[in-house]
Symmetry: C2
């Protein structure tokens, strides 16, 4: 820890993703000069979040209780399980209101280069969950990046081998886009998956 | 304050300058999933900075003591006073090792549109300090933006009226730059100030 409180604060702010030394200095200056109350609020929020938030025993997302509100909701269709990478992805799917099943949040993706293997994203737990007899369909909604696709492939193979019905979000042209500006891979996929 | 700790954390992170809801979510996710220790360190650093850091009675910069280390340094030339906008600007001047005098840190700049007037940047204190009989030269090193120039102008006029020797950082072509790519205003200034 740095000798003085200002350097310590700048150093600590740099632990946030995407924040370099200049942004960190600007943030520290802003908080100290214009928003000391904000600094206190943030300190308390960090403290409470770091100590209170754990993972839902069923879907692995962040929650302050043993199970998250979604998993506890009796209105949900327990035969459908949607696999997403992060709580933010889950929130995106939720906002569509197109899915009323349950989720499994990987809290990451397979990424051998970063040393993130099947254990780190709780695949054993997902397989156990998916084969509980209640789940009929697993919908893979990992991102359509190289790592997200690889993660979906690994999970898909493993679950199909266990006799489960596995689907993947459709690939295609995004709503509102003009073909001229859509990348070739997307158009090719949309052509193959035409309906 | 939000009902759950995660939303409260995201809300608090948005008080940082340049952080929107997406960045805040990403930061919260990163801290909770990969760096809980970092969250605790940051919470503590914020807490300590917000309670311990005050302003130097002499130069107005951030310090944990009554006076900052620069103002206390007996090696400094007390006849020269360099006026800068922020501690970051002061640090930039310090890194050049071209100045051995003392500083006055405005902690802002005149900005009528944002409601920042002479009181907010401690001009009365600066005038008092500059006319203490020890200071022989005041060097205006505010930024070369519209607001920084206006601030320098106001301070310069007031101090010259008090009979002080006031200088401004030289304007000119930056080191390493090609004339072709330098803006016209800068070249015009460099031409007028040629030596």
């Amino acid at each position: 820890m740095s000798a003085n409180a200002l350097d310590a604060l700048i150093e600590a702010l740099r632990r946030l993703p995407g924040v370099g030394v200049r942004s960190a200095s600007r943030m520290a200056f802003h908080l100290l000069q214009h928003d000391r109350a904000g600094a206190q609020v943030l300190a308390q929020a960090l403290q409470q979040a770091a100590t209170r938030i754990t993972h839902c025993t069923l879907c692995h997302t962040f929650t302050e209780n043993e199970m998250c509100a979604t998993c506890l909701d009796p209105q949900r269709d327990r035969s459908k399980l949607c696999v997403v990478e992060t709580p933010a992805d889950q929130a995106a799917v939720e906002r569509t209101a197109a899915f009323r099943g349950l989720y499994f949040v990987l809290m990451g993706k397979l990424s051998p280069l970063d040393g993130i293997g099947p254990k780190d994203i709780g695949l054993a737990k997902l397989f156990e969950r998916a084969t509980d007899g209640v789940v009929q369909e697993v919908i893979l909604a990992t991102n359509f990046t190289a790592e997200g696709e690889a993660t979906a492939h690994v999970i898909g193979e493993a679950l199909r081998a266990r006799g489960l019905n596995v689907t993947r979000l459709a690939r295609g042209v995004p709503a509102g886009s003009e073909l001229e500006y859509v990348d070739l891979g997307t158009i090719a996929h949309a052509m193959v998956d035409r309906r």
